[in-house]
């Protein structure tokens, strides 16, 4: 427990110091790399809320990542082309303001998660895995075939969106924004995990019959967890789109769902900070192995296989011990 806490601290400190060092050394690429890690971490923390705490193996979180991305893309596209998003029944304009984009991304992806969850949670086990995967694929094909927002080619946004007049095009500023969000999300999730909701949700994962016997309905717990989870991943999608100033159907692809899950596993399932370690490790591997070989994913595959077969607790399991603390 104490080791886990120290590891959390060390992780957050590295994510603070490294980009600052890169900034002082004038290495904008490394700052961007760190920003990717932080945004992926947010997506992973979102998934982990459903997966680690609730045991919901969603292989469709790309849906929420993509919806968050397109929330940003569509709003900013209308703002930059000066066309309204909708004129009837009420006039809705596009927006280049980050807070508006975030709010829309969170709400839209949360709503989608509510809908997908309501259907998918009627089943469990493999059905659930396959159904969530299928729903994400549905969004993928939908965005490819819907021509208004770039179809297969995606949408480019020329200037990064604004926040309180800051220069968000400056990598370190955008990093600070993303890091701030990570801290907020971690705070919210770790509170929820220790609150009544977290106790009941995790109990439902361990033993659904027990939760029913004390008068609670697992389905409702799962659905709320899935919705929150989707909303957080959607926020990460909006940030990711803003980082690249580009959205495309790739955000919805099954590989994206798989990668988000990989962040969770590399770090350690069920640890609030696990996905942060996992995403950082993923980016590090991508950077290092990508330099060794064009086919770095083979190595990533081998490493992942090794983790699943032999080191199931992930990075946190290796360093902080197998036991997940509860109190």
């Amino acid at each position: 427990m104490r080791r886990e806490r120290s590891l959390n601290m060390a992780l957050m400190a590295v994510l603070l110091v490294f980009p600052l060092w890169a900034w002082s050394a004038d290495e904008p690429f490394l700052i961007t790399l760190s920003t990717r890690a932080v945004i992926f971490a947010i997506a992973g923390v979102g998934l982990n809320f459903a997966l680690g705490l609730g045991g919901l193996v969603s292989l469709g979180h790309a849906a929420f990542f993509g919806i968050g991305g397109y929330a940003m893309g569509i709003l900013a596209y209308h703002a930059q082309t000066y066309t309204p998003l909708m004129e009837w029944p009420l006039l809705i304009e596009g927006s280049k303001a980050m807070p508006v984009i975030w709010a829309v991304a969170i709400m839209a992806s949360g709503l989608a998660a509510l809908g997908i969850g309501a259907l998918s949670l009627r089943t469990t086990g493999v059905y659930f895995i396959m159904i969530t995967l299928a729903f994400a694929q549905m969004f993928y094909f939908f965005t490819i075939s819907w021509p208004s927002y770039g179809g297969e080619d995606g949408l480019s946004i020329y200037v990064r969106n604004g926040l309180f007049g800051l220069n968000t095009m400056d990598p370190i500023t955008f990093y600070a924004i993303s890091y701030g969000w990570l801290v907020v999300v971690l705070f919210v999730v770790s509170r929820a995990a220790r609150a009544p909701f977290g106790l009941a949700l995790s109990a439902a994962r361990q033993n659904a019959a027990r939760v029913q016997a004390v008068g609670q309905v697992p389905y409702r717990l799962y659905l709320v967890a899935f919705t929150i989870s989707g909303a957080i991943t959607g926020l990460a999608g909006a940030l990711f789109a803003d980082l690249n100033r580009f959205v495309s159907p790739t955000m919805f692809s099954w590989q994206t769902s798989g990668e988000i899950m990989v962040f969770v596993i590399l770090g350690g399932v069920g640890r609030v900070f696990g996905p942060v370690a996992g995403a950082a490790l993923f980016i590090l591997l991508e950077h290092l192995l990508g330099g060794v070989s064009e086919f770095w994913l083979v190595y990533l595959g081998a490493i992942l296989l090794g983790v699943v077969l032999f080191a199931r607790g992930g990075l946190y399991g290796l360093i902080a011990g197998r036991e997940v603390a509860h109190d």
Binding site: P196, L199, A200, A203, Q206, H326, D327
Partner: protein, 251 residues
């Protein structure tokens, strides 16, 4: 006579050609232990499932506290005060003993959809949870992980969690299973005290315990109740002796 808290009226359930429950009438009155016995495959589990809400009957109804609960879910029945323990310990194994008890207290109080305050610092919940643990004699191990408990302790914890719900009636599925002689004696003494708090519908295989504890016994064979009455009546019933007791070699 006092009004029964739990009434089962004409419950029937078939799985294909197999009649697992056949027109079952049963009740549970305040202050009593009503034991449900029968050979393996007699349909005890199916019946318990229907009373608890895990399985919908084909016909008939379940009344709890004068209210028809046949259409209610397991969770809703639990909230009304039907406390249940399982045949195979059904606990959150990663949690500590105290966390399992707090989960029960939380279920009783409601307000599960709260996301901010740490639940393990909630004084009211902790108090209720500790009181229940105290009552079953697990106060000393509240920080132990449930997975590390002995089999007997898990049975006790099951009862403790049910207690946190402050139930109006207990539904206990083989609480003595696997307890050993000493454990069974302790549990028997405990249940005898517990029934004054809320009546118990007890499914049990241990005949000595049943005869020592039960105020009434109903005998289930092939999905139907073949006899129901006091210990003396059931023991003396020739049909029961033939169909059941003889088979198991009990007195």
């Amino acid at each position: 006579m006092t009004e029964p808290i739990l009434k089962v009226e004409g419950l029937s359930k078939a799985f294909g050609a197999l009649e697992a429950s056949r027109d079952i009438w049963l009740d549970l009155r305040p202050g009593e232990i009503h034991a449900l016995i029968g050979p393996n495959g007699a349909g005890k589990s199916t019946l318990i499932q229907q009373i608890a809400g895990g399985l919908a009957p084909d016909r008939g109804r379940v009344l709890f506290d004068g209210r028809d609960v046949t259409a209610l879910s397991t969770a809703a029945r639990a909230r009304l005060g039907l406390g249940r323990t399982f045949q195979i310990s059904s606990l959150a194994m990663e949690y500590t003993v105290l966390q399992n008890a707090v989960l029960g207290a939380l279920g009783r109080r409601g307000g599960v959809f709260r996301f901010f305050r740490p639940v393990m610092r909630d004084a009211a919940l902790l108090k209720a949870a500790r009181a229940a643990l105290e009552q079953v004699g697990l106060a000393g191990v509240e920080r132990v992980r449930t997975a590390e408990l002995s089999h007997g302790q898990r049975r006790q914890l099951e009862v403790a969690v049910a207690l946190t719900l402050r139930p109006r009636a207990f539904l206990m599925d083989e609480p003595m299973a696997g307890l050993g002689a000493e454990g069974t004696r302790a549990m028997t003494a405990f249940l005898r005290r517990l029934k004054t708090q809320a009546p118990i519908l007890l499914v049990e295989h241990d005949m000595d315990a049943v005869f020592a504890l039960a105020d009434r016994i109903s005998v289930l064979v092939y999905g139907g109740i073949i006899a129901s009455g006091s210990v003396q009546e059931v023991r003396g019933d020739p049909e029961v002796r033939r169909a059941y007791l003889g088979e198991e070699g009990a007195p």
